[in-house]
């Protein structure tokens, strides 16, 4: 799963992997979606719901019309794609960044701050300023766990998760304190300057230019990983750090550190884009957990940056259709979270089967515990 063997950049130049290996991640993804649909249908049927009716409500709420597709599904997919890219980049370097959620918050705080206080600038400067601030915010939030890994050898899984809670509470403080709206009533900021907002990309819809940014960054990460020296080093360090250091003379720790920061920056951009494109303000609970869903998005994509475009839209559709599902089929919107979790489990199981065969799913044999000879011979 870490090396995503089949996701070569489709831009030419790079040798193509054999066909069987190129389509393997696609098969895994398709199998995972199928397994999830089956498991979810079963659970719905047991709960007294008609799976077909639930599915059609969900699909209708996500893809029912071009307007719905653009204004709901694609809009919701933007933060998922951006955070998914952040996770892909980190995981490909062997950095287990579970902190995209906090890095989104940090990016949103930084972006909002610039958007609120630099209103005099023209949009052509202010929008990039907001996004750069957001990237720096996410990068800064990743800096703490990245330094702890580099200097102290502290595993980043725990530190990034803990930083998420710090960011959550920092955002809550900001919207009640330094950045609270002028009226001082609600825990949210004032709206950012008009010049700081991302415009609408398709007139008549809510689809903003953030979607274009997400697509460009997905292509950019793909090109980076597969065409550039830096990307090669990232992949080598991610899949075989010792070989990268010994045979490749690559500074493995340094590459992982820098990629960690870049991953944080990408997640930070997700926060900035959401503020500049959708909410125009910071409030508590801005992210409903994109940073966590991003892990599912990335894994389902086989850690392919371009695959993240597809899986990000798929998960955006799930979230977009959740409301309709609740209204039409009376299934709680929270059910979508269950579906997302099922996807992760299915991907992990299928990936293991693909690598090790069906035997991988058997329970490991019991651990040897005690010598029979010792039984009763003491005390």
């Amino acid at each position: 799963m870490r090396d995503g063997p089949g996701d070569r950049a489709p831009l030419g130049g790079r040798p193509r992997a054999p066909r069987a290996r190129r389509i393997a991640p696609l098969l895994t993804a398709a199998g995972a979606v199928t397994l999830t649909a089956l498991a979810a249908s079963l659970a719905l049927a047991v709960g007294g719901h008609d799976p077909g009716r639930v599915a059609s409500a969900l699909i209708g709420g996500a893809f029912g019309s071009p307007e719905i597709l653009l204004s709901v599904t694609l809009v919701r997919s933007v933060p998922l794609i951006l955070t998914g890219l952040a996770v892909v980049l980190a995981f490909r370097a062997g950095v287990w960044n579970i902190g995209a959620e906090g890095q989104v918050d940090a990016g949103a705080i930084a972006g909002t701050t610039v958007g609120l206080h630099a209103g005099g600038l023209p949009p052509l400067l202010l929008v990039p300023a907001v996004l750069v601030a957001a990237a720096l915010g996410g990068l800064g939030w990743a800096l703490v766990p990245a330094l702890m890994r580099l200097r102290l050898g502290v595993g980043e899984v725990i530190t990034t998760i803990l930083m998420n809670f710090v960011a959550l509470n920092l955002a809550a403080y900001m919207v009640r304190g330094p950045l609270q709206e002028g009226r001082g009533v609600f825990p949210q900021t004032d709206a950012i300057a008009d010049a700081a907002r991302l415009g609408v990309m398709v007139p008549g819809t809510r689809l903003h230019w953030g979607f274009a940014i997400a697509v460009i960054l997905a292509v950019g990460v793909s090109v980076l990983l597969h065409r550039t020296r830096t990307g090669f080093r990232i992949r080598a360090v991610g899949t075989a750090p010792l070989a990268a250091a010994i045979s490749g003379r690559i500074d493995a720790d340094g590459v992982a550190f820098r990629t960690f920061l870049a991953s944080g920056a990408l997640a930070g951009v997700a926060g900035g884009v959401e503020v500049a494109g959708v909410t125009f303000a910071l409030y508590e609970g801005l992210s409903p957990g994109w940073g966590y869903t991003a892990i599912a998005v990335a894994l389902l994509a086989g850690l392919s940056p371009l695959g993240v475009l597809a899986t990000g839209i798929l998960f955006g559709a799930l979230e977009g259709g959740a409301g309709a599902m609740q209204r039409v089929a009376s299934v709680p919107a929270a059910w979508v979270g269950v579906v997302q979790a099922l996807v992760i489990l299915a991907v992990l199981a299928l990936d293991r089967v693909r690598r090790h065969g069906l035997g991988a799913l058997t329970v490991p044999s019991a651990v040897v515990v005690a010598p029979a000879q010792g039984d009763g011979s003491v005390g």
Partner: protein, 543 residues
């Protein structure tokens, strides 16, 4: 029961790891009341044989009899049940737990249910400590203990189960001399009590000091068993490295090497820089010197960060590499033999430019080829394809499309051609450059690594156990390529450093022969250029 017979009889034991045969019909008999030494070179199968006895590794073929009864030893639990206790080379203790908790682990007492029978174990351990003199504070956590104390815990753990047979795998490797003496006294007293004790050790004199009988393994077979008073160090070394008949069988390959060496060897004596020679520091080395070490020392590393040198020991242990000086000249193979863990790893990394010395100066070429000893973790990224793996060595090379720095495109088209070329030239059995390295057999993986490093090498190639685990054909291939490389005629010849624990290999290929022992580099004088001579040097004899 057959009174008077051997307590343990292992016969015709075969054990394979993939394509490598670690044990090829080995046998071992342990008598009650004896300390039995098991000797052999690296890879001779000593540890594997004892692991079969300890139930850690099931044998592929062969029989094990305990007191004349055939037994099946599929798990450590089976071995325990038959009274076999094992003390491992790498400790199997839980460091955050106390000594007492470690001893009580897996020790079930009726009526205690799932709880650890700490009090019962404490009483028993105290009695055991009285008897054996194995002093360890039971309240300390294992993490606080030094290696010697940890080993005492391992031995206590084994003895607590009252084994009839005690098996120790290289117990002295981590012990100070005084601790070794104390351990040997304990082993002698255990044997005097009627137990059978089997002991693997690298150091010949230690085995001779403690053992009643000695068994020698070579290439997975038992080649020699004798009572202590019927044998001596020379006979054992001969048995370990191969007797006269075996040497002559291997000589065909070696003779080719020697003939070649006669041409290569320049008529100048002495490779270690003469300290009396007027070489002021900073003066450029002679033109034919491609790499030079001056007084290089390297401390042991405690972790695997930044560099790959692994070390279990930190703190008070001696440096891994001590004051090593060496010149590598064009057209020469510098061969370095030694028992593993005597500093070869660090020397290889320093020469290959992968590790900066802590003291002294290392002048090595910028583009040095390095064949690391573990191709699966250090030589190759198994989950990447062959082009990627070739790119490992070339990703920072300047190319027509840009400088070799932080930015820049990977020259994939060039690399793909180079990979296809390597595959064809070195007969790597693969379907193409897009194969994953994991899909290749060990021999083909090594061919790719060797081919890549020969290609990347400018003036120097460092090869570390380049034929470990390879079959005869692949071994011959690697040797031929190394010879051809060092004899290159189309330009200034490069230098090669061959670091190997395979004596035949070093003897056959080297222009100059050195031995690493205890972190120091010792030049083997000409009269020592034989398996016996070098073997004795490796085991600590004076040159």
């Amino acid at each position: 029961m057959n009174a008077g017979g051997p307590r343990v009889r292992m016969s015709a034991i075969v054990r394979r790891f993939g394509s490598v045969t670690a044990l090829d019909g080995a046998s071992l008999e342990l008598l009650p009341g004896e300390v039995h030494g098991v000797l052999g070179e690296n890879g001779a199968g000593k540890t594997t044989l004892l692991n079969v006895l300890g139930g850690m590794l099931p044998a592929d073929a062969g029989t094990v009899e305990i007191d004349g009864m055939p037994v099946r030893l599929a798990t450590p639990r089976d071995a325990w049940r038959h009274g076999i206790g094992m003390v491992h080379q790498h400790f199997k203790l839980v460091s955050p737990l106390t000594v007492l908790e470690n001893l009580a682990l897996g020790y079930r007492v009726r009526g205690h249910g799932m709880r650890l029978p700490l009090e019962a174990v404490r009483r028993r351990v105290s009695a055991l400590q009285e008897r054996t003199g194995l002093r360890v504070e039971l309240r300390r956590t294992v993490a606080e203990l030094g290696v010697g104390a940890r080993q005492r815990v391992e031995i206590l753990k084994a003895l607590l189960r009252e084994p009839e047979v005690l098996v120790l795998d290289e117990p002295t490797a981590v012990l100070a001399p005084a601790e070794t003496r104390a351990l040997f006294e304990l082993l002698r007293s255990l044997a005097a009590g009627g137990r059978a004790v089997a002991l693997v050790a690298h150091k010949l004199d230690e085995v001779l000091a403690v053992a009643d009988r000695v068994t020698v393994l070579r290439s997975g077979r038992t080649v020699h068993t004798a009572r202590r008073e019927e044998t001596d160090a020379d006979a054992l070394v001969r048995a370990m490295v191969g007797d006269a008949a075996a040497t002559s069988r291997a000589a065909s390959g070696a003779a080719v090497g020697s003939a070649r060496l006669a041409q290569l060897r320049p008529p100048m004596p002495g490779r270690v820089p003469d300290p009396s020679a007027p070489t002021a520091t900073g003066s450029p080395p002679p033109a034919d010197v491609v790499a030079a070490l001056e007084g290089v020392s390297v401390r042991r590393r405690s972790g695997g960060r930044g560099d790959a040198s692994s070390g279990l020991l930190a703190g008070e242990s001696p440096p891994a590499l001590q004051d090593v000086s060496l010149d590598v000249r064009r057209g020469e193979v510098v061969g370095i033999a030694g028992v593993e863990g005597n500093g070869q790893r660090e020397l290889a990394l320093v020469l290959a430019g992968r590790l900066a010395p802590d003291e002294g100066r290392a002048r090595v070429p910028a583009r040095t080829g390095f064949i690391p000893q573990d191709r699966t973790t250090e030589g190759l990224a198994l989950d990447l394809d062959l082009t990627d793996n070739v790119a490992l060595a070339f990703h920072d090379a300047p190319s027509s499309r840009g400088a070799g720095g932080w930015v820049g495109w990977m020259p994939w088209a060039t690399l793909r051609v180079a990979t296809a070329d390597l595959i064809a030239r070195y007969d790597v059995r693969a379907t193409g450059p897009g194969d994953r390295a994991r899909a290749l057999s060990g021999g083909n993986q090594q061919k790719l690594v060797v081919g890549r490093e020969l290609r990347v090498s400018g003036d120097l190639l460092v090869a570390e156990n380049p034929t470990r685990g390879l079959d005869v054909g692949a071994t011959r291939f690697v040797h031929e390529e190394l010879r051809r490389f060092v004899g290159r005629r189309d330009g200034p010849a490069p230098g090669v450093v061959l670091i190997s624990s395979d004596l035949d290999e070093v003897l056959a290929l080297s222009t100059w022969l050195f031995v690493m022992a205890g972190g120091r580099l010792i030049e083997a004088p000409d009269e020592r250029r034989s398996r016996e001579g070098v073997g004795a040097l490796m085991l600590g004899a004076a040159p």
